[in-house]
Symmetry: C2
Subunit: 394 residues, 2 copies
């Protein structure tokens, strides 16, 4: 049987980063790739035309949110997710596992999870079978197994019990998944324990998925713990299948993950930060709502080629936020998603040229300038305050 989604590894950087091609029923995607998240069948504040212009290749949507509103059955009747939201490129849906397990009130049993929708208190249960049914109805090109994302910190005992159940759920997902036009990816769990990650990956490999995701990271464990876990987990993963790190992250996290052989990442950060006025630039993050940008004639990032940077000043975007104009969120979202896509393309080029480590170092050196610039005045201020205090104490 031919898999609907195939992966071809084309380059391996001396440091471990990988470049490849992910083939889907809706086109090819070069990896490593960042996947922007359009939770409710919409990229927040962006039309599909604007999203395409950012360079986005494959986008995420969420089974949990879509089953809640408008319902997967309705989306199917409307011709499926691609048709409904008018995104004709590749798509991936999350299983709902992450969302359900982040709810406070839930009952986890062998059968599945019972919980209440926050919106209307309606009690529902989600099982491996129902998650597959929902994702089949939505019709994304890649769908995810229903897993338990264990919170951090947790005990070894619970992480072990949970991953074993998640493996049994993965087997049920595989059995329930009958739509041959969608690829089902397995999700590894096991927290920060190497032996549990090994057990989880062994179990998934036995089931043989066309792609493997690493779940249970980016839950508050910190970059060092994440890197350490990625180091041993990616070693357990087959080289000929795509590796997807879920819910990552900041640019520095993405560079770390790709350095460790990750091919796919997703995160709400670019759009979420955009809506609060935080913009990613080659020189670091800036908060455009700060008063220093009120009269700033320059674009967000002079080296950026996005619509926002080609057209508008920081002063104008600052004004839009001050005037509560929603256009502010649109312009900042365009820029941030473009920044993340551009980072993906730069990483691909660097890997192909066998110079990923150098690229990462250059990127981070430049990227830390803004952060350092911000620190300087406050240090000076502290010195002044200290001197003033000492003067007073004399």
């Amino acid at each position: 049987m031919t898999q609907p989604v195939q992966f071809q590894l084309t380059h391996t950087d001396p440091g471990g980063a990988r470049a490849g091609v992910l083939s889907t029923p809706r086109g090819e995607v070069n990896t490593p790739i960042f996947m922007p998240v359009g939770t409710a069948a919409a990229m927040k504040a962006l039309t599909p035309a604007q999203l395409k212009e950012t360079g986005a290749q494959i986008v995420l949507s969420n089974a949990y949110h879509l089953e809640n509103q408008p319902g997967a059955e309705l989306v199917e009747k409307m011709g499926g997710l691609h048709q409904f939201m008018q995104w004709d490129g590749p798509m991936l849906t999350d299983s709902g596992g992450y969302q359900v397990f982040s709810l406070k009130k839930k009952t986890v049993e062998e059968e599945g999870v019972t919980f209440s929708y926050e919106k209307d208190g309606r009690s529902v249960s989600l099982t491996p079978e129902s998650s597959m049914a929902i994702q089949n109805q939505l019709g994304a090109d890649i769908i995810m197994a229903f897993d338990e994302c264990v919170e951090f910190p947790t005990t070894y005992g619970y992480a072990k019990t949970s991953l074993e159940r998640t493996l049994r759920w993965a087997a049920r997902c595989k059995k329930a998944h009958t739509n041959q036009s969608q690829a089902l990816f397995g999700i590894s769990q096991g927290g920060l324990w190497e032996d549990l990650r090994q057990r989880s990956m062994d179990g998934l490999l036995e089931l043989d998925f066309p792609g493997y995701a690493i779940g249970g990271l980016s839950v508050g464990e910190g970059l060092d713990n994440m890197n350490r876990t990625l180091d041993f987990t990616t070693n357990m993963m087959p080289t000929d299948k795509p590796r997807y790190l879920m819910g990552i992250g900041l640019p520095e996290d993405i560079l770390s993950a790709v350095e460790r052989g990750i091919d796919m990442m997703d995160c709400v950060i670019p759009t979420k930060f955009a809506r609060s006025g935080v913009l990613f630039t080659s020189m670091g993050k800036i908060r455009v709502t700060n008063s220093e940008y009120r009269r700033d004639k320059y674009p967000v990032d002079s080296s950026c080629e996005c619509y926002t940077c080609k057209q508008f000043s920081r002063a104008y975007i600052h004004h839009l936020f001050a005037a509560n104009e929603v256009l502010g969120a649109t312009l900042t979202s365009i820029h941030n998603v473009h920044f993340y896509m551009n980072l993906s393309f730069q990483m691909q080029d660097a890997i192909k040229a066998g110079r990923f480590s150098a690229f990462k170092a250059e990127f981070l050196e430049k990227y830390s300038r803004q952060e350092n610039r911000k620190k300087r005045p406050s240090t000076q201020e502290n010195r002044k305050k200290k001197a003033y205090k000492q003067g007073k104490q004399k």
Copy 2:
């Protein structure tokens, strides 16, 4: 001295509607024309690129709001309003008169008006001279005289006193307006009284403006009163100058106004209604948030050529509002502004063909279908309820 804005009347429909060309430093605009309102140097929820795609030709912004945030002096430093918001087509700014007079707390004196900004309570005064200075700094192609927009209903005595003061203010505006790249339009007041409108127009004509606006309508007087006032006021206006009816309106108001010889109109209705889910279609208004559109596969208006109608279903837009996705406001705003622009272009064609009255009748006949359709079920429901009640009483 050559005026920066010129008007050429090209066609007069047998019924009185006019078609012409308004020449501005930033291009020609065919009239009659609806001007969308981007109050705070932004068309709400639309980028300038999206706004241009709707067919918008000339857009409004507001001196009152912009002086409040970010300040006209800052806009000037950023290269003026066109550069700041990246709209390279013709622009018009309102003087702030309408906004100031809609405030509850204000002091009107011969010198000007003193009031507090709602946002921060800061007390400021606006005078003919300061309004000119602000509008000069903003740099729109057409700027408006500072007038008092009297509320409805008012007394004959107050309307008379106020219009005389507004005439003195108009003279002061003319004197204070020194930027020869902007055209200053006068504004007629005088409520619903023919003799007061005559006095107001005579005073303005003596001052000789390149264009004349009718203010003080669309303040709750109703369509009949507006039509009656327009009938005698447009008769007082020169035929070779553009006639601008301020703050109008619904499609039916626009048709009435154009039939009476109005060339320019502006209103927040298309964008404001859009944000609450009310969409204009050739068959009348629909409220896309209503449950009947939850599973509706059809576009908002099958005969519409806008991005929203070419791409999305009513069901998807319904979903966006249900999920609180701001993309809903963007898609509905694109459609509504496109609808208003298309109405303008259709009116121009009808006038050029000498069949405006027939066009108006056809438009309204079709436009009223949705409204009639909505009335029918509720009448049936009432009948059912009545029958049920009568049955119970027996």
